[in-house]
Symmetry: C2
Subunit: 653 residues, 2 copies
């Protein structure tokens, strides 16, 4: 995952048309109070979703009986089932489809691995402390809140000042500690709540630190991403793949970030599930054989240039985006397409999903191109999947540190003749001539480029000496014939040795799930019309429970039939729930609608039963013996509701 450059959420304005329409329209408007602002609508909508999620145990604040811990959440039973369904589909959609090599590495990671990857040095946020209470805050959050607050509430703000604050919001993520410090001082920003003065900002490393083994001498960290486990295994995985490129490895697992002050509920948490793919490819050939399978997909693309010039997102096919050079290569394009299919099949709304390219200042220096799948939610656009061409950076970093070559080979059909430059400094002579400086001279000679070496060779042969600039010494020295031997040899090479590039799609599973909850949630009047009923319109693929079984009335005969049906459902491996309470059938439907259960079987006779579809509320009559297999087909996707409607007698609800 693109970690060395961290961002909160996109600041680029465009509450796109779809978004505005969504939050101000009837999609959520149960309370007939004076018209609300878009931001109030968002807030009310989110509250309704979150209330339902928490009440039905989709999630639970972790360790609640002890007061909870900020940024830690449990998945309760329906949330856990949704997550398991999504991960199973991820495996099928990515791992099985591309024959990826899935691995499973530990969370506990020794320090050296994360030093090599850069996390120990750079995986930080800037923090300030309340000088009296010692409470910690993220410096950029305080500055951001200050600017937003001013812009929203200070009606006497000059146009000039407003522009300044807006500019800060736009460039905030690039601020250094010094810049942040200057702004916090300039605006006299104090600690929230206490209003005490603040310390200067300083970097706080976001990894949970621990110690491996009993001696206390081996520092370790809880991994901040799963990717490093794949990189360090490159050599074995390449071998496993028959020493062939390209191939992709994948990993699903927990990752940990010790956030300074977690915000935004389920979106920024301290422990979360990542699903990451590392696709290793020859840097000279990033074409993708199956590109044509996704290239005609049309999706919302938000290229760097459009963001800079204030354009809205555009609809483009992936083929157009790659051929116009907007997306760097076919492999990136292929994965963008597959991510689009993955998310929309889960139930993410197509018009509230966009692919945003990172701006130059967001990307790490080694990245070739980087896209985020962003999903619109009540929090704005949320970065849920990052798809990055990270070049050879990671493999190179681990090869450098471990001294184990992490390379691939391309066998030539015919051996190729290459010219190989050899520069051999004669250390004894150089030592005599340059004394304490001689090591610098040796090093400079060794890393000389081909052109420079050939010029030196010519000069040495011609004049017996050559002038040579040693940067590290900042002076020009004279190299004599006896001090170096330079030769060009012709050699036959049978293969090319290179460090593969890696293209990394990285999925924040928890964020995808939260956005999916929002996209799936709606309300509708109850049967009697006296109250609003909450519904999650999960597709069967995602639904935590596929089917409820409801005896219409409390009677032994019906309960026997219900048990028999339950048994067949279990045999077909369909998750179900029996509800034998005496509550009215309407209320029992409402209960399961709120869990997003797509189908309900009502036992109202001993021979045939009613199957109801959640969103249309349409009902059909099916024989008791047949009903499990009908539900099986509906949930595994081999039949759709429309198809079933044609085959079975309908019933008005």
């Amino acid at each position: 995952m693109e970690v060395l450059k961290r961002r909160a959420f996109s600041l680029w304005p465009p509450s796109s048309r779809s978004c505005v329409a969504f939050f101000t329209s009837k999609a959520y408007s149960t309370v007939s109070s004076p018209p609300r602002t878009e931001s109030q609508n968002r807030e009310a909508f989110r509250q309704a979703v979150v209330n339902t999620l928490e009440r039905r145990l989709f999630y639970i604040p972790s360790f609640k009986i002890y007061g909870g811990v900020a940024g830690l959440y449990d998945y309760g039973p329906p949330g856990c089932a949704v997550k398991a369904n999504i991960l199973a589909f991820w495996r099928q959609h990515f791992v099985l489809e591309e024959n990826m090599l899935e691995v499973d590495c530990p969370c506990v990671t020794p320090g050296i691995v994360l030093e090599a990857s850069g996390h120990v040095d750079k995986f930080t946020d800037l923090m300030v402390k309340d000088e009296k209470t010692g409470a910690c805050h993220r410096a950029d959050h305080l500055l951001k809140d200050f600017c937003k607050d001013k812009l929203e509430k200070d009606h006497e703000l000059s146009a000039e000042k407003a522009a300044e604050l807006r500019h800060i919001l736009a460039v905030l993520n690039d601020f250094s500690a010094d810049e942040l410090c200057a702004k916090i001082k300039e605006y006299s920003i104090t600690a929230p709540d206490t209003k005490n003065s603040l310390s200067n900002p300083y970097p706080f490393n976001l990894m949970f630190q621990t110690s491996i083994g009993p001696s206390g001498s081996s520092p370790g960290y809880m991994r901040p991403e799963t990717a490093q486990g794949i990189f360090v295994n490159f050599k074995d995985l390449y071998y496993y793949n028959g020493n062939k490129l390209p191939f992709a490895a994948a990993q699903i697992g927990q990752a940990f970030r010790n956030e300074i002050s977690p915000r935004q509920g389920l979106l920024r948490v301290r422990e979360f599930t990542l699903a990451e793919i590392e696709h290793f490819v020859d840097p000279k050939d990033k074409s993708f054989p199956k590109f044509s399978e996704v290239s005609d997909l049309e999706l919302f693309i938000f290229p760097r240039e459009d963001q800079m010039s204030g354009q809205p997102t555009r609809r483009l096919t992936i083929r157009e985006a790659v051929s116009q050079g907007i997306i760097d290569n076919e492999t990136l394009g292929y994965y963008i397409g597959r991510v689009y299919l993955f998310l929309t099949q889960l139930g993410i709304a197509k018009d509230r999903l966009r692919f945003r390219q990172h701006l130059g200042n967001e990307m790490a220096h080694y990245s070739v191109d980087c896209w985020d799948a962003e999903i619109e939610s009540s929090y704005g656009w949320v970065e849920c999947v990052g798809i990055t061409d990270r070049s050879a950076y990671d493999l190179q970093a681990h090869a450098d540190r471990s001294r184990v070559p992490l390379v691939a080979y391309e066998k030539y059909e015919q051996p190729r003749e290459v010219e190989k430059l050899t520069v051999l400094p004669v250390k004894k002579e150089l030592g005599l001539a340059f004394k304490g400086d001689h090591k610098m001279v040796v090093k400079a000679l060794e890393v000389m480029g081909k052109k420079e070496a050939m010029e030196m060779k010519a000069s040495l042969e011609d004049k017996g000496e050559a002038a040579f600039r040693v940067c590290a010494l900042n002076k020009v020295v004279t190299i004599k014939n006896s001090m170096v031997s330079i030769s060009i040899e012709k050699r036959k090479e049978h293969q090319r040795v290179f460090t593969p590039s890696v293209i990394e799609p990285s999925f924040g599973i928890g964020r995808i799930i939260y956005c999916l909850y929002e996209h799936s949630f709606y309300t509708r009047p109850s049967k009697c019309g006296d109250e609003q009923v909450n519904v999650f319109r999960f597709p069967p693929l995602v639904a935590p429970i596929k089917c409820t079984v409801l005896p219409l009335i409390q009677n032994q005969e019906y309960e026997e039939v219900a048990k028999q049906i339950a048994k067949s459902l279990k045999a077909s491996r369909i998750s179900y729930k029996i509800d034998v309470t005496g509550t009215s059938i309407g209320k029992r439907y409402a209960r399961t609608d709120e869990l997003g259960v797509p189908f309900a079987i009502t036992v109202d006779s001993t021979s045939s039963v009613t199957v109801r579809e959640r969103d249309s509320k349409q009902q059909i009559r099916v024989n008791v013996n047949e009903v499990a297999s009908v539900v099986k087909q509906l949930t595994d996707g081999s039949v759709r509701w429309g198809g079933v409607l044609l085959r079975y007698p309908t019933r008005s609800p």
Copy 2:
């Protein structure tokens, strides 16, 4: 998981008949060297399995390019697939079957939770340090090694001494720090390798410690088990279950133990996957409605008494074991049966699986009864699943610490009349009479038993005063009429309030997988008979890849057919591997046998193909269009190989 009492592996002698037979028989005997001891056979067998596992990337020592970290292993591609298959089956076999409430809680856990559970105080091993190098060792390991070594190698050992050492091995796990210290001194045990002297043993906490949030003031640990996440959620889960008992909650996830010096390869590691069930039940009724579904299963049972008296394991049905009071209750018995079915369906050999009851000294004081599913491996009997009746201990511990009642209710059909004792100390009077001691007196009065209170009441009414022993003060005081009011009231109660018992089956997934590897591994001569071929006889359920597709020769027509078959397999969600290398078909079969792939499709014509079963090496002819569906049925278990043999023409291999 039963954690407060930790054991290595069972020390009870009985290398059962099956085991001896296994390791000394032809099951592994490829080298025709002089006859080996059983222990050499075990070692050689293990080496063969582990070599294959490591070479084919079933597992990889984690962070290998950096020299690895003891006790941390990655699952490579086939290992990861085996694990995913086993977890999916676990969900189906337990969670779906019993409608369990699955949850998913974080690994990062605040200190208070693990203080309440007892882990902060008691989850320790005794450690000694090499006094010169500072290297750490487990004290019991050193003593154990010393005793074993002496018994094995010192041929001049007196019978008396030998008996003493054997006794130590038997009771070692109960040694206190002082006892261990005494023995280490008595035998002059020194550090392995260096032979330096050792420190006294002291407890080392096995949890990985960390800090939550930036302030450094909130200690946290990486959970040592997943169970606590369920206990702290009891209240919500009980509500979710409609306030009804019994119900079971489940969790699959990582757990962490910072072992002092990990040994035994994949069996004792520092991070591992647990799958745990907490079945909450009324302590007054531990019957199980579905008990009869497993009660006729006959399995190897090893009760406490038989272990003490040196008997071998016995074969008993679960019904017999429960009715004879060997297994405490039906719920425990039911889970023992389900665990047996789970393990044997994965491929664990029935005669190398036993259920061993904990001895009195192994069980925590609160446990009612405790059984381990132990699987025999080259390391001896390995504890893979613990099935424990933990009474109300865990819920009570968290209720006490959090002050949130974790209780269940039994509604009475008719309200019941109960006598309720009320003791109200009059603090003012007591304060005047007893000054500084009065708090102790108040407390003692409040916790007085019913009998004592009634006697006091009688005495007060009779004489106006009563003698009262206050233990905390170690003296008898005189209580006067004015100092306390004691009353008995009759009240109507509508429900019983109680803390549920919990029965906990806890699965060490990594250990099960390792034992399964050993039970599945065998060798056989290659086709030409010139070498031994390794095979894993995984059932299709477990196999990492279900099917290989092999064009008989390198030719475009066959490769096209192979691709077409691959496409159908993918559509049926069957994991497969194409091998288009020009290697001989025999070698390609051998490659996939070693990965445990159960079926191979050889493309040897464009209309029909050969399907080969791994273990029998039998072959059938199937049409190209039909082959994916045949393999699908074979892998999902709806058809067995024997059935297929009858339906399709066979081919001699």
